[in-house]
């Protein structure tokens, strides 16, 4: 399944405000692969994703997207990237369609193509009836859908999503899972997705890495039973090892 590495973090370390947040984290996502990153709150998932998307510089190590260093990535590289971290691309004063259209244009699509792609992306996420509504008037879940449509509208083959299902209803979760699996299968997209919901990532991911206190402490096999218990076993073992070292 894995043909080449499209997303790669190499021994990335980062401290924020004097506290180590990431400690020599290495991670890779190949083409046509969904790699899930799971961990408790404050594990460092968002910080790692910020570094991978050029929002934050690592203290040590390096990040690469589509074979290029994030620090010096050209416009062509970024045009292949779709992302949603924390706040979705959903400016309240714009309509749902305008938000998605703007994202498409900013990713280099022509006006005509962006218009068609935006309508399709909204339709894919079940937002047809909200296309002309101001995003500020939409529910949290629908704003999240607008953000996902904006992240996927240009057909990216490198996708980074931080807790994308947070505000989604069960139907939205299924729609997103289908869209990501299609992106993987149809255009060989490499997808890194973080989540708190183990059962959800188990259905979606090809690989699951567990991030805890800024370190990758192990992996979980999707499709296996009792994922939650094995996750907490890993966390507990890691905490016990750390206490022994002190």
């Amino acid at each position: 399944m894995k043909t080449s590495t499209a997303i790669r973090a190499e021994r990335v370390s980062k401290a924020l405000g004097g506290f180590p947040v990431l400690d020599e984290v290495s991670l890779d996502v190949g083409a046509s692969e969904i790699h899930a990153l799971v961990g408790l709150n404050g594990a460092g998932k968002t910080t790692l994703m910020r570094i991978l998307l050029g929002m934050l510089k690592p203290d040590l190590g390096s990040a690469h997207l589509a074979g290029a260093s994030v620090a010096g990535a050209e416009a062509q590289v970024w045009s292949r990237v779709g992302q949603m971290l924390e706040t979705p691309f959903a400016y309240p004063e714009l309509t749902a369609l305008e938000n998605v259209y703007c994202s498409a244009r900013l990713h280099g699509m022509s006006k005509a193509v962006a218009r068609c792609a935006s309508e399709r992306a909204l339709s894919d996420l079940g937002l047809d009836q909200y296309a002309a509504r101001r995003t500020g008037t939409l529910s949290l879940g629908n704003r999240q859908r607008v953000g996902l449509a904006a992240a996927l509208v240009h057909g990216p083959d490198v996708i980074v999503l931080d807790e994308p299902t947070n505000a989604l209803d069960p139907r939205g979760v299924i729609v997103l899972r289908r869209l990501l699996q299609e992106a993987c299968r149809d255009r060989g997209a490499a997808i890194l997705v973080s989540s708190h919901h183990l059962d959800e990532v188990a259905r979606m991911a090809d690989r699951i890495s567990v991030l805890h206190r800024g370190r990758i402490i192990g992996t979980l096999r999707p499709g296996t039973v009792d994922l939650e218990r094995r996750f907490f076993d890993l966390v507990l073992q890691s905490d016990m090892r750390e206490q022994e070292h002190r």
Binding site: L53, M55, A75, Q83, E93, S103, R105, L106
Partner: protein, 260 residues
Amino acid sequence: MRTSGQAREFEALKFRRAPVVWTVSVLIVAALPVLAAAFMLAATSDGSSQIGLKAAAMLTSSGWAGYLAMVGMLLSVGALMGIGFVVCWCFGREFTDKTQACLFALPVSRRRLAYAKFTVIILWALLLCLASVAVALLAGAVIGLGVPSPEDLVLAVKAWCGGAMAALLACPLAVVASVARGYLPGVGALVLLVVTTQVVTAFGSGAWFPYAAPGLWMGMGGAAAAEAVGPLQLFLCVPVSVIGIGITGQWWKNMQISSG
């Protein structure tokens, strides 16, 4: 990949849809000329009332010349306040609304997005001042000043220049709104700037203080102070604006997100 057009299109759309922009536009285009016309009426119709006396003190001469000088004074201060507020909102809202992460991982650089914001704001501000002066001319005719002469139209252009200079001088507020990551700190800096301008002018150094020079040139400090303001002092608004725009662009280029 050429990306300036996309950046301008994106910023212009957000700008057009923003209620704060429409509010400021109405205040500067409609409320400001109406206020000038009301002062003019108060100054000329009833010179014995409190408001009449105060309005009369603002007039540097009679007729169109005095009226348009008052429009220029109000515009130089009002435009700095209004456009300054919009500059602060335009840059600071990305942090206040937490949309700054949406501006990363794009083929369009953040510096280009910042310059697109400035392009949209400056074009809007110049048109806004033009519309304000046009409405002021109309209001002047309505209150009975008659038809303006070519000399009066020159004064109208001078009033527009006062507004345009204020628009340029509002640009450096983007530095504060960006570095402090929110529009309220920028608005705080705007208030501080207005207070500083008053103090500097009171100490007699206003002509060399770029934020005071346009107002003095319009006659806020009297005819003698207006004549003391030279082209070089007025031109200082250009480098101040360029430096502010440059620092903002560089800051946006190097911006990082370390917290939600």
